[in-house]
Amino acid sequence: MDTAEKFDDKAPGNMKLADQIEGEQAMDETIRYPDQTVGTPYVDNPKMRMRDVEVFYGEKQAIHGVSLDIGKNEVVALIGPSGCGKSTFLRCLNRMNDTIDICQVKGNLHLEDQDLYDPKLDVVELRARVGMVFQKPNPFPKSIYDNVAYGPRIHGLANKKYDLDEIVETSLQKAGLWNEVKDRLHSPGTGLSGGQQQRLCIARTIAVSPEVVLMDEPCSALDPIATAKIEELIAELSESYTIAIVTHSMQQAARVSNRTAYFHLGRLVEMNDTDTVFTKPEHDLTEAYITGRFG
């Protein structure tokens, strides 16, 4: 927690610097990419193990040979500049990329012993085990209640209406939305404010209690208090579940994660203990990023 305070989020020391770092591309030519990721991307006995993941959108390669592990009951933060491939990588982990026609995934991805891209794999089970909160809140055009109850219903997690009510309530409570919506559980989820929708989507995902939770910028539309609530939730979840979170807030990464992975233009540049990443980053790209400048 202490590292968190060091960072003044989104306020690069010298704002004018942004001018100089206009062209990432230009800079890329001068900086050598590490052949291998620096730091400690692997752990013993991981929950998920990814090796040499490459992702293509049509011709365009979005992820270049990324290898990393996510340990059991670990919170891994994925950080990096916009467009660097965080969401793309995250979506590989429960095969949501399948839904994009032009998207192709190569490499070795495992959830425990299960090869994720094994043709025989059961994606439904996989996605039930590996839940996801999407970057853009996408509530169903159904009532708030039905949004949250959707997962439990399809998986048959509640036997009685009473159980379901309870799941809905605790999920919404955990996502910090219960008080705001308890009087309007049956009004449509699409009629919520941006931040409320985001929390609804979080509640919807945790309602099925997946083993691994993937969160793509879950707090992007939230105020500090709601954010705190979600971070608390993450802490709570990490006691029994495994979590990968994409965030653009380095403070948040510092606060919630055990290890942090820094992505840059589709490559995993560095992965280390969160403390290490934020106090003594090994790679100069990482350092440039976390100090709010490049090089």
Binding site: N94, M96, T99, V124, E125, L126, R127, A128, R129, G131, M132, F134, K136, N138, P139, F140, P141, K142, Y150, G151, I154, H155, P188, T190, C201, R204, T205, V208, P210
Partner: protein, 462 residues
Amino acid sequence: MQTGNLLLLLVVMIAGAYYMGHRRSFALARPLGGIRHLHSLPFYYAMRTAIWCAIPALVVLGVWLAFDDTLIRNMVMGSLPAASQPVDGSAANLMLNQISNVASGALSPASVSPEIAAAAEKLNSLRQLNTMAITVVVIVVAMLGTAWGWVKISPQMRARQQVEKVLQTLFMLSATIAILTTVGILMSVLFESIRFFGKVPATDFLFGLHWSPQTALRADQVASEGAFGAIPLFVGTLLISAIALLVAVPVGLMSAIYLAEYAPARVRAFAKPALEVLAGVPTVVYGFFAALTVAPVIRQIGESIGLDVASESALAAGLVMGVMIIPFVSSLADDVITAVPQALRDASLGLGATRSETIKKVIFPAALPGIMGGILLAASRAIGETMIVVMAAGLAANLTANPLDAVTTVTVQIVTLLTGDQEFDSAKTLAAFALGLMLFITTLLLNVIALHIVKKYREQYD
């Protein structure tokens, strides 16, 4: 100039007006420092000029064409000597036709009286004059309109609003056509229906259980009291439509779902239009198919399990009709299902739902209004279909719910009554209109209910 050529010329002039408006708006914009300083885009100034060119000219042309014939006729008739003036309107019509036929050479001048021959020549010369005049006037009006539209262009002019207003008015007029059609249809059945109910008590018609088409067609034919109980017809309609929908809705919907959600693009590109062909096969063809291919099969199967199947059966007609309306459901539903945003699919799949669960629980409700529209269209088509029923289900108005019996439908009776040997005023012919009215009201109620359901269950996405 021929009207067709004149219209072509007008199109060219409209294009010219557009071009001139465009040029002028740019010319006005240049000293101001670019088109951003105009109120509207050059496109709108150009459109406005084109509209000024088109609408007055078209109105003049329309009005002229509506009246020139009458005028010329009157002039030709006026030129005839008093002695050969026609006695009444229809005689005048005939005489004019004769004159025109002589003028065009279809009748030889020798076969008619000299006055008529003279009139024919006058007609020809008047016609020539008329075409010349119309050409000149329309061109002048178009030019004046263009000039007016062109001169009026100024940087402050709210051209976009004006053009949009014209467009919106056109849109509104289009919608009005649909409404006018409704009114027209109501009118065309209402009065005759009232006359029918003057002859046959409404209660007999509405609640009568016996529809006997053997009433007196002619005064001298059969004198038994006509039985105008419409219930068997409505039951028959319901039965056949229900069978048809039982085929079309599941098949259509499942086809749509498969095409939109499962099928590879190539399969979809082929199968969707292929199914759409089913809607265009003439109903006579379906009729033969139902009567000569499906009905005998049903009969055989029925007899092999010991059922007594009429050679004409609601089942055969309903099944084939169901096939015919599949595309109404499949294509419309496919379109709206495709339109559901991917984010919703992702949300559901991401929670570990199977595809079918996603479809049933998320996509289907989101696409419901469109799907309902397709089903309503299909049902409407089923209700309105005649040929298949006539050929495969017969014309006997049995009050039965047994799909193996012969039944008939409201629409079929309307068609047979209207096209058969008819007498002007008999209750029988009028009954067609009363049936039409009843059908109109019934389907109206069904639609109200459908709208209600859609409103209730609609899930608006985004």
